[in-house]
């Protein structure tokens, strides 16, 4: 009995570890690719914004991030601002990320705005 209980415990441990890895990958991706415009805190005030004609979205604001479905967020990250009739300044990232990585970024954005 005792022997058998090790296995599920190990599985749980493994899956906790794996999801931590995913979360940190999404965080690295957000830093390397999104910080430049959306900023180190995600507030839309990145190092590039001074001469940009449209301000990047504040990802920490539930007000400006709420009301969008996960599918909406997925689409704008993969295909860029133009695909949702927004600014060309929001780039398409389909050439950079796999679909799975984009889903993880959507989850990460939900954490930043603490909104649905």
């Amino acid at each position: 009995m005792k022997k058998n209980s090790i296995f599920p415990a190990l599985l749980i441990l493994l899956s906790v570890f794996a999801s931590a890895v995913w979360a940190s990958e999404a965080e690295d991706n957000y830093k390397n690719f999104c910080w430049q415009c959306h900023g180190m805190t995600g507030n839309g005030m990145g190092v590039n914004v001074q001469d940009m004609s449209v301000q990047p979205r504040d990802h920490t604001s539930a007000k400006s991030m709420g009301g969008r479905s996960d599918a909406d967020l997925f689409k704008v990250i993969k295909e860029g601002g133009l695909a949702i009739d927004k600014s060309v300044l929001m780039p398409p990232w389909g050439g950079t990320f796999s679909d799975e990585e984009i889903h993880d970024l959507v989850t990460y954005l939900r954490k930043l705005c603490q909104c649905r």
Binding site: N32, M45, N48, D51, M52, V88, P91, G94, T96
Partner: protein
């Protein structure tokens, strides 16, 4: 006899093919620059590299620029390499943390010539670059700017003149001085083919607009920016 000793000692050290330039690269540059591929395959791996990859330098840089810059290097990326490691939160927006940016090592004219020669021998894989990919032609600076900034949003990350434009990418007003036109076409078409984790997105720029943008970069590079700075 003298010849025999020379050949024997070359064979013994195995350096018969390595030039002075290669030796300098190994000793003074390899700590920061990758001299052999592949490019970084993950973001943490990318962040460990202290300077841009040089293993395809011969397909990227213009020979005469390379030699001059190594003698008198000046900053190309306003926020350093990697921008992520050189920014700090500011009052209104994130700012470049200038205190973390260091000057580039300088070479003597003689070493620069040897190093440039050794670098120009390092070519990209043939499938990445096509000779004659840039078709030539010219464009007015104002129309070029429209294609670059308004239609394609490239200015968000690149300065098109000193102190105007984005800071996370390299300045582009000197891009055509630094880099071969065929490389520019290839890189803009698919940056990830060169560096899978580059912060530059593939904007799926239409083929004729890529040509226009490279013409625009050539027009920008004609100005004497050093004087204006």
């Amino acid at each position: 006899m003298k010849h025999f000793v020379l050949i024997a000692s070359l064979m013994a050290t195995g350096s018969a093919l390595a030039t002075d330039g290669d030796a300098i690269l190994e000793q003074r540059c390899a700590g920061c620059h990758a001299l052999s591929g592949p490019a970084a395959q993950s973001v943490p791996e990318l962040w460990k590299r202290k300077g841009p990859d040089l293993f395809y330098a011969g397909s990227k840089y213009k020979d005469n620029w390379l030699e001059k810059w190594l003698v008198k290097p000046r900053r190309i990326r306003p926020a350093g390499y990697h921008y992520v490691q050189h920014i700090k939160p500011g009052k209104k927006r994130d700012m470049v943390d200038m205190s973390t940016l260091t000057p580039h090592p300088v070479l003597s004219a003689e070493d620069a010539e040897d190093v440039a020669e050794a670098l120009m021998k390092r070519k990209a894989p043939a499938d990445l670059i096509t000779k004659g990919d840039f078709k030539g032609g010219s464009i007015s600076a104002s129309f070029g700017e429209m294609v670059f900034s308004t239609f394609n949003g490239c200015m968000a990350c690149h300065e098109i003149e000193p102190n105007f434009g984005g800071l996370s990418g390299p300045e582009v007003y000197t891009a055509a001085k630094r880099m071969q036109e065929d490389y520019l076409v290839s890189y803009i078409r698919n940056p990830q083919a060169w560096n899978p984790k580059t912060p530059m997105p593939n904007k799926h720029t239409a083929e004729q607009n890529i040509q226009k943008i490279v013409r625009y970069l050539q027009a920008l590079a004609k100005e004497n920016w050093d004087e204006k700075k």
